[in-house]
């Protein structure tokens, strides 16, 4: 190779980097940015032991729930969508086979209690996650979120955003029934 041709190769790597960028963007175009899968589905729910919202002296731990199929609903009094979701939860909480437990996420106790007083309390009980540690372990992405946890403490389903009556009827309640039979 002649000396004059050598420096020509110097900047070819830039073209290579750019080509890689374009390939990545092309792959990215085929993805749906609004879909958020949960890495926790099919895995054991994170361990936690938190004070209860109504009775701060007592605690609530995931261990107490082993052997039961239950819903963990992450909520907060500051969350706007929780307010839309709330009547749905209150409605389904009346049913014996849909036990809903709350995780009050990054909230103030007084606000949370007032909220439940004003709008009704669908939860068998709520754990109080003041600093949001447990929520982070669950990978809370946006409040509200709902987790379906089976008898062995494994997360089987996760919903980001408010649950709707359709979702409860078509997906969550049938799944809970099936899991209860296992």
């Amino acid at each position: 190779m002649s000396a004059a041709a050598l420096p020509r190769m110097r900047y070819v790597w830039i073209v290579g980097v750019f080509a890689a960028l374009v390939v990545m963007l092309a792959l990215g175009l085929r993805l749906d940015p609004s879909k958020v899968p949960s890495p926790l589905i099919g895995k054991e729910a994170p361990r936690f032991e938190l004070p209860r919202l109504q009775e701060p002296r007592k605690t609530f731990s995931d261990k107490e729930m082993l052997g039961k199929v239950w819903l963990l609903n992450v909520w907060a009094s500051w969350c706007v969508s929780c307010r839309d979701e709330h009547p749905v939860l209150v409605e389904y909480a009346k049913r014996e086979d849909v036990p809903i437990y709350g995780l009050d996420y990054k909230d103030k106790r007084a606000d949370a209690l007032a909220w439940l007083r004003d709008f009704g309390d669908p939860y068998r009980l709520s754990a109080f996650d003041a600093d949001g540690r447990v929520g982070i372990n669950f990978g809370v992405y946006g409040v509200p979120e709902t987790y379906l946890i089976d008898k062995r403490g494994i997360i089987r389903y996760k919903r980001i955003g408010p649950v709707t009556p359709e979702l409860m009827d078509r997906k969550i309640v049938p799944m809970m029934r099936e899991l209860a039979r296992e």
């Binding site: 374009v22 990545m24 706007v80």
Partner: protein
């Protein structure tokens, strides 16, 4: 009928753009004067056709012609006239039309202010811009026709997104696009220089005013976008490191580096290949920004005008334009000499260091913006990269860059003396260290970041004073000093002012981040809340009717030490057409502080969640940007660029060509 005229004008513009992108370039390569001479008229005709198309679309909006699908999607007969006109760029198709219209405007500007350039250079520059324009026009005509008709004709339109119904939004996209598109001129000059093989000081001097003008518009555009999110989104944030904000910030960083690199290339002939690469990168990042926003590849609060099918087209366009430029760069830079040498301590080295810092900053924003996408594309899961990453990366990169900003203007070209610089700058350094150590204590709280921020702001101001004094040091008398200052070129003042703008900006960011306070409270009529010495009293909440919305409005009286400061009226609006609720915060603005009140959700019939915020110096953030843009304006209109431009009127173009040749 009118929309069809617009459609026809667009197709014609595409044909003209194709001719403009082929004939002048071939003419310049083969030396065919007739083809070279085609460049100017082609660009002007193209602009006229684009302007006609734009006027036709505006007409459709003004007359509420809902048979045009784009109008039906983005307007409504109840929408106020000014917003109907701004709706032209409220959606994807119209914003692409605006993009090409502005590209046409820049092309016409090149035809008008290029009399001092060699004709083949002008032909090449306009030819390259013609290629860009042809690509985007093909994109509009084949995938995003703004004039497409809709049957059956809907009785009314779907309205403009309420978040865009704001004066800031009327001017933000044109400014931002002026900046984005403006970098195409510097890009076209760089490609033209690569094609001709003449990458010299004259090329740098020709590119500089264009780059400065584009940079000025981009600065204003970004500032307007930031102010919009502060005023309109209702939560008092002014920068979110949102992918689309990053998309506008990356070309700004590259453009800033380019301005400085061009200065070195013009004055000293150094950094040529680096400068050319920056010119390509600044425009490539502008195109990438357009791609990211228009393809909807990233989720973002800005995704107002998204259609994934179009992404493929823009990606191909992006890949073809940037890929071929980089290839040309890789092949041709072997021929470019390195230019004058310089010592480790010199103005060149400080500018080079700053350039590297700015480029690394741009690259790290690119990384943070695309990393989630890359992981997702590799199937490695979804993550988001947020402010903690950007804050962690930015402060360590920008602190030394700002420090060098103080040193660079004082350092001599080629070789500077470190002891001399130290003597010159010791007072400035002492002042800034003192400011960093003591000012925060006066303001109430010291932390390392606040100290650093205020020290840097003070450093920029103090070192500017030193630079100004150094300028007149050997003048002898006051009259001599005045004469020296008068003979100093305007671009030098532009630089100093832009640097002071950075100081104002840094002070604003530091103080607002360090001392802002906020409270979220539940309030009933008559309740009060105290914040940073101000008392906010909720007088009452009432219903208000707007032209195309209904609102719940709170009346909030603010007092300080018993004296009334102001009364604010924050609202929650529901826009009747789209049923979209918006939060319209009320702000008491002042140079030293903003009071920001947001009416939140109702808890019951009489109780509301209210957020009150105290934001010291927040307006300095945008004031700083304004000052920077002013600096850019002064530099871009420096005499030595204007002299070259006015020569066109005085002399024939042949003479001008010789002049430019001699200047080289």
């Amino acid at each position: 009928m009118i929309p069809e005229i617009g459609q026809f004008a667009l197709s014609l513009a595409l044909a003209v753009a194709l001719a403009q992108s082929i004939l002048p370039l071939v003419g310049a390569a083969r030396g065919i004067p007739g083809w070279i001479a085609l460049a100017r008229p082609a660009a002007q005709v193209q602009f006229a056709l684009l302007a006609l198309a734009f006027v036709c679309l505006t007409y459709a909006f003004v007359t509420n012609d809902f048979s045009v699908a784009y109008v039906a999607m983005h307007s409504n007969s109840t929408l106020p006239l000014v917003y109907r006109m701004a709706s032209v760029w409220g959606g994807h198709r119209g914003s692409m039309l605006l993009w090409t219209l502005l590209l046409g405007a820049w092309m016409v500007a090149v035809t008008l202010f290029s009399a001092h350039l060699p004709e083949e250079m002008v032909a090449r520059v306009l030819g390259v811009m013609g290629i860009v324009s042809a690509g985007f026009l093909a994109f509009i005509v084949f995938t995003s026709d703004p004039f497409a008709r809709l049957f059956p004709v809907p009785p009314n339109g779907q309205d403009l997104n309420p978040l865009l119904q704001d004066p800031g939004m009327v001017v933000h996209p044109p400014m931002l696009y002026m900046g984005y598109v403006g970098f195409s001129v510097a890009f076209a000059f760089a490609i033209a220089a690569l094609l001709s093989g003449r990458l010299d000081a004259a090329w740098a001097r020709w590119s500089r005013p264009w780059t400065l003008a584009a940079w000025m518009f981009l600065t204003l555009g970004i500032a307007l976008g930031s102010a919009w999110s502060y005023y309109v989104l209702g939560w008092g944030g002014w920068w979110f490191w949102d992918p689309v904000e990053n998309a506008s910030f990356m070309p700004w960083l590259a453009g800033t580096a380019l301005i400085h690199s061009l200065a070195v290339t013009e004055k000293r002939g150094s950094f040529r290949s680096w400068t050319v690469l920056l010119a390509i990168c600044a425009f490539a990042l502008s195109l990438l920004g357009t791609f990211l926003v228009r393809s909807g590849i990233l989720t973002s609060v800005h995704a107002f005008a998204v259609d994934p099918r179009r992404g493929v087209f823009i990606l191909i366009l992006f890949a073809a334009l940037v890929g071929s430029s980089l290839l040309l760069f890789a092949v041709r830079t072997a021929r470019i000499g390195l230019g004058g040498s310089f010592a480790v301590v010199s103005r060149e080295s400080s500018l080079l260091a700053n350039n590297v810092l700015l480029s690394v900053a741009a690259a790290s924003v690119l990384l943070g913006t695309l990393y989630p996408l890359a992981l997702d594309a590799l199937g490695a899961g979804k993550i988001s990269v947020g402010p903690p990453y950007f804050d962690a990366v930015f402060v360590p990169l920008m602190a030394p860059a700002v420090f060098l900003m103080g040193v660079g203007p004082l350092a001599r070209w080629k070789r500077a003396s470190l002891p001399e610089l130290a003597v010159l700058l010791r007072w400035a350094l002492a002042v800034s260290v003192l400011c960093g150590a003591l000012l925060p204590l006066l303001l109430g709280r010291w932390s390392p970041l606040i100290g650093l921020g205020l020290a840097l702001a003070a450093w920029v101001v103090a070192s500017s004073v030193v630079t100004l004094r150094d300028r007149v040091r050997h003048a002898g008398s006051a009259a001599g000093a005045w004469a020296r200052l008068r003979s100093t070129p305007r671009s030098w003042y532009g630089m100093m002012i832009a640097h002071l703008g950075i100081a104002v900006f840094i002070a604003g960011v530091t103080v607002v981040k360090g001392y802002e306070t906020q409270k979220d409270v539940r309030m009933q009529a008559g309740d009060t809340v105290e914040l940073s010495g101000y008392t906010f009293r909720l007088i009452g909440v009432s219903k208000v009717q707007g032209p195309n919305y209904t609102a719940t409005q709170a009346q909030m009286q603010i007092t300080r030490h018993g004296r009334t400061v102001t009364t604010l009226y924050p609202q929650r609006r529901v826009y009747t057409v789209q049923h979209m609720p918006t939060i319209n915060a009320a702000i008491d603005e002042g140079l030293m502080r903003h009071l920001y009140v947001t009416l939140g959700d109702p808890l019951n019939a009489t109780t509301w969640v209210v957020r009150v915020q105290y934001k010291p110096l927040v307006s300095w953030i945008w004031l700083g940007c304004l000052v920077m843009a002013l600096g850019g304006l002064l530099s871009a209109t420096d005499r030595r660029y204007r002299v070259a431009a006015t020569m066109r009127r005085a002399a024939s173009s042949e003479v001008a060509v010789t002049q430019a040749g001699a200047a080289r």
